[in-house]
Symmetry: C2
């Protein structure tokens, strides 16, 4: 009797992520999964991008947090449809949460959906949501050593953003070391240096994102 060997069976999360990905592609929804440490500026970057893309394409936002709806309230004040997911302790979003959120939010075809993941530079990188773009944000005050320590997050990125560059004059931050660290893990992802205070770097980032929109 021959023993059956089963290979490449998707995990429950990966299976749902694939289903999400197919739905998003069919409906031409560009989904940006925004991942970063707590306080790196995920909400601010998303808001700045929406300001700059306003009129070009409709948006909606899913906010992931352990608790509170602080960020969702900021998005709502912009008049953008938003849904808050509170994980109640969970350290990342997963594909099923996004499936349910999209059913509720009903983003229009040919739109952009931003997903702000839970503030965590570790766990979210292991959970595919079915997104189009994995956006990883680091910030100057966190220090230039982050890619050396949080390897899988930077490996998995489709685009890397270095935020809060307006603080460089006040902090010892070695930009070359940061860039080398990212490039050792990830040769392809474009890297943008930005500031949500001064707007620096956003014209380039916005143009890049516009090119990703299906």
């Amino acid at each position: 009797m021959k023993i059956k060997v089963m290979e490449n069976i998707l995990s429950a999360n990966d299976q749902l992520a694939e289903a999400n990905r197919e739905d998003f592609a069919r409906r031409h929804i560009t989904v940006v999964n925004v991942m970063a440490s707590p306080g790196a500026g995920k909400t601010s970057v998303i808001m700045e991008l929406m300001h700059r893309l306003a009129g070009d394409v409709p948006f909606s936002v899913v906010e992931g947090d352990i608790a509170s709806s602080i960020d969702a309230e900021k998005i709502e004040a912009m008049g953008v449809p938003v849904l808050q997911i509170n994980t109640g302790g969970g350290c990342h979003l997963d594909a099923n949460m996004i499936r349910e959120a999209v059913r509720e939010l009903q983003p229009p075809d040919h739109s952009v959906l931003f997903i702000e993941n839970v503030g965590n530079l570790i766990c979210p990188s292991a959970f595919d949501l079915g997104e189009t773009v994995r956006m990883v944000i680091a910030s100057v005050p966190e220090g230039h050593d982050k890619p050396y320590k949080y390897v899988s997050m930077f490996e998995a990125a489709d685009v890397v953003i270095l935020n809060k560059i307006d603080l460089k004059p006040y902090i010892r931050f070695d930009t070359d070391s940061f860039v080398r660290g990212v490039r050792a893990l990830n040769e392809k992802a474009p890297l943008f240096e930005v500031s949500c205070s001064t707007g620096e770097g956003f014209p380039e980032l916005t143009a890049w994102l516009k090119n990703q929109v299906g």
Copy 2:
């Protein structure tokens, strides 16, 4: 036949944490579990405290990271015994890792052991290491909303540190909102505002820590 009901069975981690705690108490080792987001300044705060307590009490340090030994090298350069734990993806330290690390490090009786946990404001709060003091560090650039979003970390703290206060002039940070957020979760933990660049707040924090040393 009566069905047996078993209650209060400790999890494997809690059981090992209790064993650690008993060992530490018997040997008068004060163990400080330092928890924070990536880049909040855990290593810098530990190093500044060791500079200020040098001569008063022997130290050793356990460094927890997913990858790299960047922080352990800084500690070693101070001439302090240090052990690096690389979790290889794991998002927190646990009691067994500390048990093994202590067996290797052999900290002397009547000493202070700093444990720098993995940079993560979520998962480490759920894993008792058997520590004496749970030290939670937030930093000004992360924003004043952190206690509202990362509830269990601030609830569990024995001491809360707000680091990088030298950056307040360059960042919109509402100190009152931060303090109210911490106090809503935790009435007892002392809160120290510090800067590793200027040294501000460290005399008070150092004096407090000295009082915890058994």
